[in-house]
Symmetry: C2
Amino acid sequence: MASSRYDVLGIGNAIVDVIARAEDDFLLRHGMHKGGMALIDEAGAQKIYGAMGQAVEISGGSAANTIVGAASFGARAAFVGKVKNDALGWVFQHDIRAAGIAYDTKPADDGPSTARCFVIVTPDGERTMNTYLGAAQDLHPEDVEAEQITAAAIIYLEGYLWDPPHAKEAFRKAAKIAHGAGRQVALTLSDAFCVDRYRAEFLDLIKNGTVDIVFANERELHSLYQTADFDTAVKALRADARLAVCTRSEKGCVIVTREHVEAVPAHPIKRLVDATGAGDLFAAGFLFGLARGVDHRSAAKLGALAAAEVIQHIGARPEVSLKSLAQQSGLPV
Amino acid sequence: MASSRYDVLGIGNAIVDVIARAEDDFLLRHGMHKGGMALIDEAGAQKIYGAMGQAVEISGGSAANTIVGAASFGARAAFVGKVKNDALGWVFQHDIRAAGIAYDTKPADDGPSTARCFVIVTPDGERTMNTYLGAAQDLHPEDVEAEQITAAAIIYLEGYLWDPPHAKEAFRKAAKIAHGAGRQVALTLSDAFCVDRYRAEFLDLIKNGTVDIVFANERELHSLYQTADFDTAVKALRADARLAVCTRSEKGCVIVTREHVEAVPAHPIKRLVDATGAGDLFAAGFLFGLARGVDHRSAAKLGALAAAEVIQHIGARPEVSLKSLAQQSGLPV
């Protein structure tokens, strides 16, 4: 296997988050499922934005957040995702490049505007998301370049790529190229409702070896195996996946392999401000650890550290250097 | 004097802040004066943005922040300022209206894009600003409507309005209409470098009674009277202004009238995160207090409370209800 130019390359929906606080009754009034991600059209976007309070705009996107987090640990990283050549597209491009990520996906010159995710943060710190996919709809297999894929030790793909019409083809193309070059492929299940939409396909990806590493939270795992029992879901996951990590919020995470199931505690926090990005940043630390060759438990601790940082402020990207934070905590970076 | 529909109406540059953290050497490398506001052109904006790290976009603008703060205390408020009909213009319009502010200034359909202020926050929490005025350049006297001005108990104007070519005419028109209707006119000196640019005119506004209430921080006051001695500056201010408040960061503020000079302490904070908006939010609380008829000292305490809230997070707009915060602190709202 050739040495890699990138530790990790992510493919995902390129999104700018529009984040506002609201009380729980806002979710009820707008028929939103707390903690979930719903897809909305342009009219839905206007309606929700019009009803939302003062907001903050911050670059987001699940896999993009993960890649930025990995880079903050010191990973060499790249990202593939589609924006439009508009003001929010420039914001997304600026931010991901400012984080030191190689990002060369050609922006769309026409068509729908750059994707926005309207994030409602309730007083308990939970986030509820409504995504207008916009230009992210236009990610095609041509946007995936073999040269870049083969240059990355791990390819990280988000389940949300099943929503745009052609992105899953880009996903499959990238996975095939990566495996052809002896690289690893990781998948996040993204969201329980997303798993509901694409359960059979996700299970197939895991069972047939298209993905080597699976990230899921409890709700996603329960949805994947259609069970309310955690142990039953983990048992099924062990049979299907080579390596998986299930995140469980304040209960930490469980590392699942054919041989072992190992729990790792969450990193302590002072106050949960905004849960946006918790799963994304856990994946960032875990992938960084894998790329650096540390054991699974140490990788999970890096993930827990990164998740703890991101949930203590607004927005899904780290505000401080995760490398410095890991060094202060005596973790391997 | 007729009863007022608004407690306060602000006129200012309508700006979206682009905020990023950086070390002090970033300021040195780009020749920035720490704590100040510099005007930049489109090329300068591109250069600075290209050099800045990952950023957050939040609606800003000095007088706009003040008006939003006053509304958060419960004030009935209005704002006048120019954006373009573009993505950042929509963000500005959404946020100010979401705060409950009457905002009817017609956006520009062509010409330069919505104003952006690139804010660099250094590890000490100080902010250094570079403003691309863009569409804010196109505020004209026609944007000031007599009916709206006469409906407000206090008109609040920012010194920054001297930078765009026609905004000072809008300022003078508004002040004249307000005084004709028996209303009060307040001015913030905005920035020490801004005072350097327009010292004679600002002094004239204060001495000739165009403004009734003056807000300044220490640096602005020193610049206004070209003295390094605070007491000398305050003495000069007493002779010129009917009512003034000089804010002094952690030292609190000084209320200055012909009869008295009274110091009011700062509100305690846990940690200075981002000083952006400290002066704007002080003015918000003070103006709200004046509009509600409380004494100057109580008004200054409301100002100190609002400033303390805004400097403990990123961005220049309050993240929580200032009315609730004041109630919790036993202050009059």
